[in-house]
C-alpha cells in the first residue's frame, strides 16, 4: 500500500483541469498505440517470468544449483533499476545467490568487483539494448579472456545470457554461439526497462520476488489508467508549470536501502526531462537524491535556508518490520537523550522524517510525502510505475520527447574519433 499527499496548491495557472485531462489522454494514446511499451511491461512480465522459469529448468548449471554469483555486465539503464530492486529486497529472501554488477570501465572498480566472484560458480548476463555499448562489450571481452572461456565450448556458453534488442549485433552473436538470449521490446527505452528482461532475468536468478514486483506495478498502472491516481497528474502539472521557480526536485528517502532506487530515479528524471522542447528552448528538471536521517545533518540546511528553488518529496516507510529498540539505558551525563529510551528505531527514524517534513512545509517549500506501509515487492513495483508515469506526465506537460537522449550521443562520437583518427 502506497499513500500519497502533497502540501502545495497544484492547480496553479489557467485551464489546469483541461491541460491535465489532455496529458492523461496523450498518455493513453502512447500506450494504446503501442508507441511506448513500458506501460505494458507489468502485464507482459508474467509470461516472461514463465520463460525464465523454463530456462532455469533447462540450463543444467542452474538445475544442479552450481551457480552462486550472478554477474550483470551492463551500464545505465541496463543495470540501475535492477540494482535498485535488488538492494531493497535482497534481505527478504533466503538464498546463497548473490548479484554483482560490472558497470563502469574504471579498472579499479572492475578489479575490486571481480575479487568477490568465484568464476566456477558464476553466470554472466551481458545487457545492452543497442547491442554494442562500448563499456559492456569491452568488459564482456575482458571476462572471456580472463577466465579463458571459449565460444566453441558449449559448457562455457551456458555461463552466459544476452539481453538485448532482437536483431542487434549482440543478439546475432548470441544466436551464432548458442548463448541464451532474452529480448527487450523495441518500444521500451533503457531507462524504462527494469520490468522487462533487463530486470526480470537477473532478479529472478537470485530468487528475488519479481512476481510481487510485477503485481504491484500492474496494480499501479491499471489504477492510473482507471483515473484513480489524480494526485500524480496534479503533481506533474505543478512541477512542469513551476519549473522556472523550482528547477530542482529533491527525493528524500528515509531508509538507507533506497540508495540505488534514488540513483535510478535520478537517471530516469534527468535523462528523460532534460531536453530541447519544440520551441527550441532548453527545458528540464534537475533531480537530487538524499537519504534520511543522514542528510538531515547536511543538505537539509541548504533546503531550509538556501535559495527557494527546490521541491521536496519525502519517502517514508511506516513499518520496517524490525523490532530493534533503543534500550532503556540511561548514560551518565547523557540523561537529556533518555526521552528516546524504550522506543523502536522504527519510531525514531519516522519521527525524524515527520520533523523534517513539517520543517520544510513551514518554510513554504513545495513538499509531498509518499508513504509505504512496508518495504514489499508489491510496493516497490508500484513505486517504480509511479515514477515512470510521473516522468511521462511531466514530459507531456513540457512538450518534449521524454524517451530519446540525443545529447548523450555527442560524446560517443568524440570517443570513437579518439581511437580511430
Amino acid at each position: 500500500m502506497l499513500h500519497f499527499e502533497h502540501k502545495f496548491d497544484a492547480k496553479i495557472g489557467k485551464r489546469a483541469e483541461e491541460k491535465i485531462e489532455e496529458v492523461f489522454k496523450a498518455m493513453q494514446k502512447e500506450r494504446d498505440s503501442g508507441k511506448i511499451g513500458y506501460y505494458d511491461l507489468p502485464q507482459n512480465g508474467f509470461d516472461l517470468l514463465k520463460e525464465v522459469e523454463d530456462y532455469k529448468k533447462k540450463n543444467s548449471l542452474l538445475k544442479e544449483n552450481s551457480i552462486r554469483d550472478v554477474v550483470v555486465i551492463g551500464i545505465g539503464g541496463s543495470s540501475l533499476g535492477t540494482k535498485a530492486v535488488y538492494e531493497l529486497l535482497k534481505d527478504q529472501v533466503k538464498t546463497k545467490k548473490r548479484l554483482y554488477f560490472l558497470e563502469n570501465v574504471d579498472p579499479l572498480d572492475i578489479t575490486r568487483t571481480l575479487k568477490k566472484i568465484n568464476k566456477n560458480k558464476a553466470l554472466f548476463i551481458v545487457i545492452s539494448k543497442s547491442g554494442s555499448t562500448i563499456e559492456t562489450t569491452s568488459i564482456f571481452k575482458y571476462i572471456m579472456e580472463k577466465y579463458k572461456f571459449s565460444f566453441k565450448n558449449k559448457e562455457d556458453m551456458k555461463k552466459f545470457i544476452a539481453i538485448t534488442d532482437k536483431g542487434s549485433a549482440l543478439s546475432m552473436l548470441a544466436d551464432k554461439n548458442g548463448i541464451k538470449q532474452f529480448n527487450i521490446p523495441l518500444n521500451v527505452g533503457g531507462r524504462f526497462s527494469v520490468l522487462s528482461a533487463v530486470g526480470i532475468v537477473p532478479l529472478s536468478l537470485v530468487d528475488i520476488d519479481i512476481k510481487g514486483v510485477l503485481k504491484g506495478a500492474k496494480e499501479f498502472v491499471d489504477s492510473f489508467f482507471e483515473e484513480k491516481e489524480n494526485n500524480l497528474l496534479d503533481k506533474a502539472y505543478f512541477y512542469s508549470k513551476s519549473a522556472k521557480n523550482f528547477p530542482i526536485n529533491v527525493m528524500f528517502t528515509y531508509s538507507s536501502l533506497f540508495n540505488y532506487f534514488n540513483q535510478w530515479y535520478v537517471q530516469l528524471w534527468a535523462e528523460s526531462l532534460g531536453k530541447i522542447n519544440k520551441f527550441g528552448e532548453n527545458v528540464g528538471l534537475t533531480p537530487i537524491h538524499l537519504i534520511g536521517s543522514v542528510d538531515q545533518h547536511s543538505f537539509l540546511q541548504l533546503i531550509i535556508q538556501g535559495p527557494k528553488n527546490k521541491t521536496v518529496t519525502i519517502i517514508k516507510i511506516e513499518d520496517f518490520k524490525k523490532p530493534v529498540k533503543v534500550p532503556k539505558l540511561s548514560l551518565d551525563f547523557l540523561e537529556k537523550v533518555d526521552y528516546i529510551n524504550g522506543h523502536k528505531f522504527n519510531k525514531l527514524i519516522n519521527a525524524e522524517c515527520e520533523a523534517t517534513y513539517e520543517t520544510i512545509v513551514d518554510e513554504n517549500i513545495p513538499a509531498d510525502c509518499i508513504s509505504l506501509d512496508k518495504i514489499t515487492a508489491e510496493n516497490i513495483g508500484s513505486l517504480i510505475l509511479y515514477y515512470e508515469l510521473l516522468t511521462s506526465a511531466v514530459g507531456q506537460f513540457l512538450e518534449i520527447n521524454t524517451y530519446d537522449q540525443p545529447g548523450v550521443e555527442f560524446g560517443k562520437i568524440k570517443l570513437v574519433k579518439k581511437f580511430t583518427k
Copy 2:
C-alpha cells in the same frame, strides 16, 4: 600531483582582482586569528597521529592484534569524510582490518551492517562533536545492550573510543568510565573535521596511510597561503558571482571509488553555502555528484540539453595503476567496436572523460578539470583541502557564515517535542 584548469572566463564583473584579494586576506585572518581551525589540522595531525600510535601500543587488544572490525558510530560530519578516504585508499593496504559505519537509525541498515561484524573482534568508535547526537547515542546504547557490554568491565571499555569536543556529555562519560577519548578542536566544525581525530583515529586503526593524506593536505594549504593556488580563488569568485545563472555545481568524477568522496563534497558544499546572507537573502549553491562513465549514460543528457544552470567540474585520474586491458578479441557482428582492442581500460575511461569534457565545453557550459596523476594518499589529502578552501572562499564572496548550520536545528526541536509532549 594535482593539476587544475578551467574553461571559463572567471573574472567577470568589476573589481574582480580587488575582491579576490579581499577574500584571500579574510581567509588569512580566519586562520591567523584561530577563529577557524581546519586550516591547521594538516599541521597538527602529525602530533595527533603520534598520540594514536602510542594508544595502539597501550591498548592490549590492539597490541595483540585481536581487533579486526573497527566500527564508527557517527553521522554526517562524523562519518562521511572518513568513509570517503577509506573507500579511495582501502585497496592500497594489505590488512585484514575493516572499517564499518553505523550511521543511520534505519533499523534495516543497522541489522544489515551488524551481520558483517564479529563482536569479539570489534572495536567501536563513538563520534559526536556535540556529544549528544540522538542517532549516535541511540546506536551506542543499542550496541552496549546487544553485546552485553558493561561500563563496569574494564576489558569491555577497551573496546570503545570516544571522539568528541572536550567537556561534552560524551567526553565526561568517557572520563568517568575509563573510555579512551580523543578531542575535536572547538574551532573545527563537523563537516571540516575529517583531518582531526574524527578521521585520523579510525583510518589509522585500519592501517590507511593517513600520514600521506596529512602530508598532501599540508602541502596544499601551505601552497594556497603562499598565493600559489590562484585558480581556486578565481573559480570561487566566478561561482559566487554567477550563482543566479548557475545555481547548481556538478562534480563529475571519473572513477567509481569517488562515490563517498562525492557525498562528502555534497555535505560540505550544501551545508556550508546554503545560508541567509547579511542582507536577509536566501543564498547558496546546490551540489550534484556524478560518477563517470556511468552517468554519461543518463545525467549528461540533462547537462547538455536541459537548462543551462549548471557548472561542471570533471575529476580525472591519469594513471589508475592497473594494467587491465581490453583483449584483442574480435566478436562476431561486433567488429565495429574493435577499435578499443588492445587498449587499457585506463585509456578507455580517460578517453570517455575527455570526450565528456569537450562536449560540455562545446556547449558553453562553465567547466573545469582537476586531474590527479594517480590515486595516492597525498593527492587525496590535497583534494580534501582544495574543496575545503574553495568552500571557505565561496562563503566569503557570498558574505555568509560558512561554518554554522542554524537551519538543521529547526527539525531537531520538532523531534524532541514528538517524544516529550
